[in-house]
Symmetry: none
Subunit: 202 residues, 4 copies
DNA sequence: TAGTAACCGAGACGGTACGTCCCGTCTTTAC
DNA sequence: GTAAAGACGGGACGTACCGTCTCGGTTACTA
């Protein structure tokens, strides 16, 4: 499931092997700069200086600034995705959405909206974070919905993809377009509204 | 309702008045470049050259590139917002959402996602397009919802803001994050799912 | 006779005029760096930093490092070319050659051999210093020879170009290829040897 | 007389001996690149790739790019220096100078001026080509002059070094500074002019 | 015939400079 | 005062080549 930006098939043994220390130094520097200054203000020169690595080395392994920074983000987020399983679809979804919301509004999470923004101008980047960030999260939600269907809580013929869209998209709409935070009440109400339409008896 | 980027004009009377021809030339050039090359590839030098206007003049009236280009977009979209009123909430919403979707996926509309993207790095810009683009559209939706409540179609105590979020946010989620188009069937199904939760009898 | 690298026809009046201060700052910085570090170690970044001018400005007016540095050299050498006229061809030539030798072996003059060197890889540069440095000097020598012919000292049908070559080329041969200095005795002996072949009665 | 760049070999016996095949491959590749692209455009990476040898190996045996390329030049020029002996100083010198001129203006010989150029910035290199290229040639000229003195053609107390300078330096002056070719007539005239000054009866 | 020292290919790496691009500001003259 | 023309400082970009290094693997003397 995890798609890496660059590893160049580990099986190569010819020549001097890539320095793990260097790779890590780059990612750490990139991530720190991202936290300090935000995506727009991170520069490759800056990463090079901070990490003590030459620009050429950075450009050898990553296509451009976006690629390094994105990679540094995933490298830093040791992202044990939790799979909520409380027995109630509302509970499960609430946990997942509010965890996500908490992260997205946190210092560490503010990069997410910057990545989405940059992704509008850089299709490769967009594809990358979709694969590495959003798809794994949607997979968990799919699981949550499937279990709920199995328990008879939700319609048998439910369009799960749309269910997920309904639950998560307001979060990003508020974040990206309205520029507003949402709170727990909003999430609870949202879930309760949506669930009515998805239930067995509706 | 319409908020302009720059007018400051009103009360000034001394000296040569601002040339309307120049203003228009800038906006037209900016808009054409936006269509041709996308937001990122528009440059102020480019606008100046294409319009035969000096850069100083552009910077005199607009704060930066984003401001001109955004303004050119609104100047070009002679945007008579239509207020659907079919007597059915589903019909009204379907019209509004599918119009919006059609636009957003069109050549002219692709700028919207670029503006949202740039807005993540430029709060002023974000505020600007919110005021000029999104709030007017939400106002119409509010009207649609209020009429439906009045007709008894929807709950009396409905949280209209959240209703609007539920209907519109999947469109942008798919656009900005999933990078996918949505079709009429998606919109219809979406509205039908959501409406169940908002109806009087639910 | 003087051929300038770049002035772009003084008659232009539109737009902000080129800053003489900036031009001078660049040339001064370039010349100082040339003296301090030698041609190879001069960098455009260095000139930019030392002069407080942006690299873009430098590259706007000069094609590359060589062009600026060469220009700075001529700008610094306020080169009142002296035309010796002692009444004796030997005296005249001795003055000219030993002046040249003194300069070429001085700190300021060591750039000349670096320019010639660089000229082997950059035909434009070679042409430039030929026009600005060598041709004017040869013109003076031509004058010296012509006067001597007029006085009857030298053959009427003398190949003046070759005469000049014979007098000056050993200087550069010793400088560029043998890497040796020549002294006054060498010059005197050289002139006396050559003159025998060029005299009327030979 | 022949001074090699690197041999250091002599006394070593332990370990794997240096591969002659590798040495030759490097020199051949370097020389071909020199011919194709000129000195400035030869890169060590290029030599390594073309020869199938690693950069480290190149740097193990030569100090830098200049050293390899210069060495490749001498390796390629199987330079049986001919010693003209026609019985006439004019004839002997004409043969030597015109041979040199022909070479210097040929494709293979254009490297000479590039070496001289590079030598201005790299004293080691300058010393190297002086020892390997110019001194052997001057030795032959010395021989020619000495024989002529022995035959009574030239002055007994002739400054031979200066005689050689006078004959050869115009060739390089024209090549390096004027950027011009010289032809047979030039050489003949040059020799006849110079000889007058050097003869017994002058 | 086994050790071992030196050789060698592959290629990663730090460093330094390059020349380009675009931003937003400033400085002229012309209207 | 408005405007065109265009010079300018700043700052980042991505590229190129240098010379050094670190691996794994090879080769041929010497014990």
């Amino acid at each position: 499931m995890k798609i890496l930006v660059n590893t160049k098939t580990e099986g190569n043994r010819l020549g001097r092997p890539r320095s793990e220390k260097t790779r890590k130094a780059i990612l750490v520097a990139a991530y720190e700069l991202l936290q300090e200054s935000g995506f727009k203000n991170v520069t490759v020169d800056g990463i090079a200086e901070k990490s003590g690595v030459s620009k050429a080395t950075i450009y050898k392994w990553w296509a451009n600034k976006s690629a390094v920074v994105l990679d540094s983000f995933f490298d830093a987020s040791e992202l044990m995705l939790q799979v909520p399983d409380t027995g109630s679809i509302e509970e499960d979804l609430f946990m997942q959405v509010s965890n996500l919301a908490t992260f997205i509004y946190s210092d560490k999470g503010k990069a997410v909206s910057e990545f989405i923004a940059e992704g509008q101008f850089d299709p490769n980047m967009a594809n990358e974070y979709r694969q590495r960030y959003f798809f794994p999260r949607r997979a968990i939600s799919t699981n949550i919905f499937e279990r709920a269907i199995g328990r008879g809580e939700l319609k048998q013929d439910l369009d799960i993809e749309m269910g997920i869209d309904l639950i998560f998209s307001p979060l990003f709409y508020r974040l990206l377009i309205m520029g507003e935070h949402i709170d727990e009440n909003y999430i609870k109400k949202l879930i309760s509204y949506v669930m009515i339409g998805l239930r067995t008896n509706s």
